[in-house]
Symmetry: C2
Subunit: 424 residues, 2 copies
Amino acid sequence: MRYTRLFGKTSREVPRDAELPSHRYLVKGGFIDQLMVGSWTLLPLGWRVVNRINNIIREEMDKTGASEMLMPLMHPKDVWNKTGRWNDPGVREIMYQFKDKRGREFCLSFTHEEVVMDLVGKHISSYKDLPVKVYHFSTKFRNEPRARGGIIRAREFLMKDLYSVHTSEKDLMAYYEEVKQAYLRIFSRLDMPVRVVEAGGGVFTEKHTHEFQLIVPTGEDTVFYCDECLWGQNKEIFGGREGSRCPECKEGRVVSANAIEVGNIFPLGQKYAQMMGVTFVDKDGERKIPWFGSYGIGTGRVMGAIVECCHDSKGIIWPASVTPYDVHLLSLSGGESVAERIYCAAEESGLEVLYDDRDGSPGVKLADADLIGIPVRVIVSAKSIAAGGVEVSRRSGGKAEIVSVEKLAGKIKELYSEKLKAKS
Amino acid sequence: MRYTRLFGKTSREVPRDAELPSHRYLVKGGFIDQLMVGSWTLLPLGWRVVNRINNIIREEMDKTGASEMLMPLMHPKDVWNKTGRWNDPGVREIMYQFKDKRGREFCLSFTHEEVVMDLVGKHISSYKDLPVKVYHFSTKFRNEPRARGGIIRAREFLMKDLYSVHTSEKDLMAYYEEVKQAYLRIFSRLDMPVRVVEAGGGVFTEKHTHEFQLIVPTGEDTVFYCDECLWGQNKEIFGGREGSRCPECKEGRVVSANAIEVGNIFPLGQKYAQMMGVTFVDKDGERKIPWFGSYGIGTGRVMGAIVECCHDSKGIIWPASVTPYDVHLLSLSGGESVAERIYCAAEESGLEVLYDDRDGSPGVKLADADLIGIPVRVIVSAKSIAAGGVEVSRRSGGKAEIVSVEKLAGKIKELYSEKLKAKS
């Protein structure tokens, strides 16, 4: 992509209310644009990142045997009435409810448990129809009183939500564990150091659930975890005090940290199916109530959270797995025709290149490349040509290297395979 | 995919109000499920078809130099007020408008002209920033009084909408023509025989626009066109009578037909930019108003429209380009272990196979395969094995053929390359 043709350029203005680095850098870098408080357009650069995040999630969901589909966003009141959540004060606080002109009542998708259970109820009758494992990427609407922080806490946002329905608690919990592992693989592929912590169920369930919390100083949540083992709890349920001995391994100490919740999983049990009258006939001929789980990752928020942990004072440093482009190609004075040739060849080879083809000062181009944060940078200038080719460097730092034009493609491949190796 | 594991099986029940073949077959085949009137879940099979449609559209949009992004679905009143459409009676009739608990007014995305123009206004200042060509796949909400016919006329539906902004009318109209050609390529790749007809602008513009109309007997629209040349108009603007001489070529005769509108393009001119105060500085240093176009394809509706033109009395016959799976593999009595082997090998080779692994009567399996409509069918039975392999046939008809297991992959490739050749 030629930068002159990209919609959504860098900007020098910092949004007034931007406290978080992800808010500042994603707006200044041309990744997102605010329509109103809590509501963001994903500009082409931002959409590319979210797409890559979604594809990683999709691969890991499919590995668990789940199937992708798409459920509606506007829901009739009667479906939400069956579980009593239409009138639940906690839900009403953040769910958009409204009437059409004929007085029919609807809400916007705050989550999809009721809608998916209604659907599953129509399609299962026997134990042979179970388990069901379905997910979608879709929009959620929550009238979040604390909307702030760019896309970390939005009122309209993209979420991957997976739902599973099982014949027994044992089967549910086995799959719950499988999804937990899939989530850990996802966050590892995204270079996000997350902790799994126990949490309450909020408006979803009375059981304990699990949150995937990214430990970063700018996180709004507080989590407590063991400095030796994997034990952890969020602030709502942690009853002890910092520095005490870990209740799990009895060896480590409980420490606390700020964190951003990037995923959560809920073993919802039989409550939803029971209230909605969903049953199946088991092997023994008896009519039984199925077991239900739900599993979410906010994918726009994940983009923001990645920036919270992957940036420096100049801008973003994207992990190789979600970078919007593989290479940022900059032509500086005297390098124009060679850069043009490299760009055309790269496009043909399938390498994804953001090509800064502007007439502009080197200072502006270099600062923009730092801000946008593509991991590999290639600079072509009269100076680099005189030195034998182009200058290749990493956004994360380290020495720049002169590489001949002929060896450039191989060099880029090498850099990416190192990065990917380091991650797996 | 093993059919026993697929969520959304075939059903013998016909929806009570189903008048259209697409409504009947998509519901019975397990492609879609109704949440409420005008609102549908795309089940895994249906989502696969829509995804393939979307990918074809995406490729053709990208070829025109457009970039994908994603805009919000909930819009603030003030943006829609700038063009006066918030209070336009025609718009209010079908737009969902509501207040949140603090009394702020919002609407759901009926279309995105106002939101995209607001966005573009923030990001352009000079002629160097133009043209802008951006699109997204997103949900539209229209309180359609005539909601019926399955997903052909829904209240919540998926749409690809492209918007372009230009320095001059000439540049807009050149791109408008380019998009028209891209649309024709899309519908040709989808095996849809469409006619381009002139139409009025509805609530969008006072200018003439163009509709892409699929000619099918079950279509709700009426179009008039020349039986010799490409001239055509829709019912709203056609002033002549059937059988008269074509006003364009003066040779052919005007005929009429039922049709389904599957796409439309609008040369919106300067109206939106003017009302919303969006300008740019041109080469000559003068501040000018940009030219605007908008271009839509309803992608869920396209799935329905394809079924309207691609079915027989037994079910759907998917075009090769959008079939949910490449091959429908059926194991009948005595063929189980060979079918299992073929399925595992195909999965590894990347071929997408729907494998009917049920214990069930051959009659049910064959009827389901006819209903689901995957173009290539492979039957494995004791009989086919005795005859030398497996039975390969096309959903569209013609003689079945016995092919050895070793030559099966080659045979499938051959059938698909014939189909694809026939289409381009």
